[in-house]
Amino acid sequence: MFEYCSDPATLTGLKWLGCFLTTGTHQNFYWSFGTVLLLLAITAPAALMFGFLGATAARSHLPPLSLIGRTYIAAVRGVPDIVYFMFFVIALDQGIEWTKHLFVCPDLSQPVWSGLEFKVCPDAKVPLATSAPIWHKIYAFGTAVVTFAIVFGAFAANVIYGAMQAVPRAQLETAEAYGMSQAQVFRRILVPQMWIYALPGLSNLWLILIKATPLLFLLGIQDIVYWARELGAAKTSGNNPYPHGDWRIFYFLGLLVFYLAFTRISEIVLGRLTARLSHGQATAAGEAMRKAAVP
């Protein structure tokens, strides 16, 4: 990074630390924070969408659709979510490869699951063995994102379903009395009003989602936990220009501070958002704001 870093053995003190903290592997470490943020940026809206679909399905008047929605919501309640993480990441991968296997493989006579193997023809591998390493990384990250979205979608569905039930009946009945159709009531009255009821639950879910991101490590992604372990492990002078002892404790301390700061900032932002959304709502908070605004 810096010019004087060319010969680390001669460095001391802060200069050594400066060079040490800007090595290529450390830059990978810093980029992996981007991976975490990217995961959050994709997963949060995806989970919200899954949640919305799940809750809408659960409210449906069609029994099979309602059953699907309810099952989705109930599924992640009694079982540790980490079981789902570990399950989905393999199941998704196998599901994708199996589907591709049905289309691209010439010989479908052999069973895919035989004994202790899951075997598809080379053409059906995702990504192909010949693909660039970057595609393998993207694929692994993609399955992780979908897994997160499915699991958190179920939780979001639970929150949104509750919020939809919490919108005062009178609001919907008034809309019906004005001659709105079911779809119109849903679109114009129910959905705009439910957010304030969903917000406490969704805020909580966002904080939980932040705290779930280190699980990327379990899904085989080179995330911040992976790099903290790699970089912190003791290095001898034989294999590394920057030898040091076991420093993992400092790296994990750094991660702890990162998460604490992230959750704290989120709490503050969500607090402001709640205040804004309470504006003009038929809730205690909204009523208090209305009274405060009257001179």
Partner: protein
């Protein structure tokens, strides 16, 4: 040579504690083996959950009272403790604790001439239990603190009108009411603490001689058979049973705490998802 299911249970039923067959199954991978070994691992989940909950309950009460204290010297440390453990991932807490514990001198620490051994602290049964204990104490303390704040004003005024005050008011009125109000949320905390115990063997703490928890063995089978569709649903099945048992047990306590109230005022336990911490 394949074993009958009963033989499998005898060989692996207590495998997670190191009793029985030393080698894990390397062939067949029957449903019976799945159920036996994963069930054996569940012993550890129950161990971690039950002990952390039992010890954590007392610390949580102390923390909740400290957080409600008027003096900043008492309040601030409690607030920080709760913030650190609730604001960061349990997964990172496990790693941090483990990396800290391995840095303790291997030969032990000298305290007034007596050597205190340290090696045992890096073992999951001690180290991970300690982290779970602190973690659940922080979450429960926040629940109890919230409950303490929502004790009806009238109850306290009534107590004072009867001449009950100070410590007696606390033990007779405030503490029981706090427990009663906080109990439904505390039930959820207990359930999700048990769920959180599945993280232990995936977060730094090694499973010594392949003695692991339910998820550890499920992962073992999934790695061997490349079939996630059997072992993980079995873990799920066991945890649903565990969740039902907990809900029942805590429900009994809840009934006891609400026994003096008319039925329409009794608090109901609703299972609310809290996910990972």
């Amino acid at each position: 040579m394949s074993m009958t299911c009963w033989e499998t249970v005898q060989a692996y039923g207590l495998r997670s504690l190191g009793i029985g067959e030393r080698l894990l199954p390397r062939e067949d991978y029957t449903i019976c083996q799945h159920f036996t070994l994963i069930g054996s691992g569940l012993i550890w989940n129950i161990y971690f959950g039950a002990l952390a909950l039992a010890f954590g309950f007392f610390l949580a009460n102390a923390l909740a009272l400290a957080k409600a204290n008027r003096s900043a010297w008492v309040r601030k440390p409690a607030e920080w403790f709760i913030f650190v453990f609730r604001g960061s991932p349990l997964f990172i807490q496990f790693f941090l604790a483990y990396e800290t514990l391995v840095l303790l001198p291997k030969s032990g620490i000298d305290v007034f001439g007596i050597t205190v051994a340290t090696a045992w602290t890096t073992k999951a049964w001690a180290g991970a239990l300690f982290v779970l204990f602190l973690n659940t104490a922080a979450y429960s303390a926040e629940i109890f603190y919230g409950a303490l704040q929502s004790i009806p004003k009238g109850d306290l005024e009534a107590a004072e009108a009867y001449g009950i005050s100070g410590w007696k008011k606390f033990t007779r009125i405030e503490w029981p009411t706090m427990l009663r109000l906080g109990w439904p949320a505390y039930t959820n905390e207990a359930i999700f603490l048990f769920h959180a115990t599945t993280l232990v063997f995936f977060s730094g703490f090694p499973a010594f001689q392949q003695k692991g928890d339910a998820l550890y063995y499920a992962n073992y089978f999934a790695d061997k058979t490349f079939n996630p569709f059997i072992p993980y649903p079995i873990v799920g099945f066991y945890f649903i049973l565990l969740t039902l048992a907990l809900t029942w047990g805590f429900g009994r306590v809840n009934r006891h705490l609400n026994r003096h109230l008319p039925s329409n005022l009794k608090a109901k336990i609703r299972l609310r998802p809290a996910l990972i911490r």
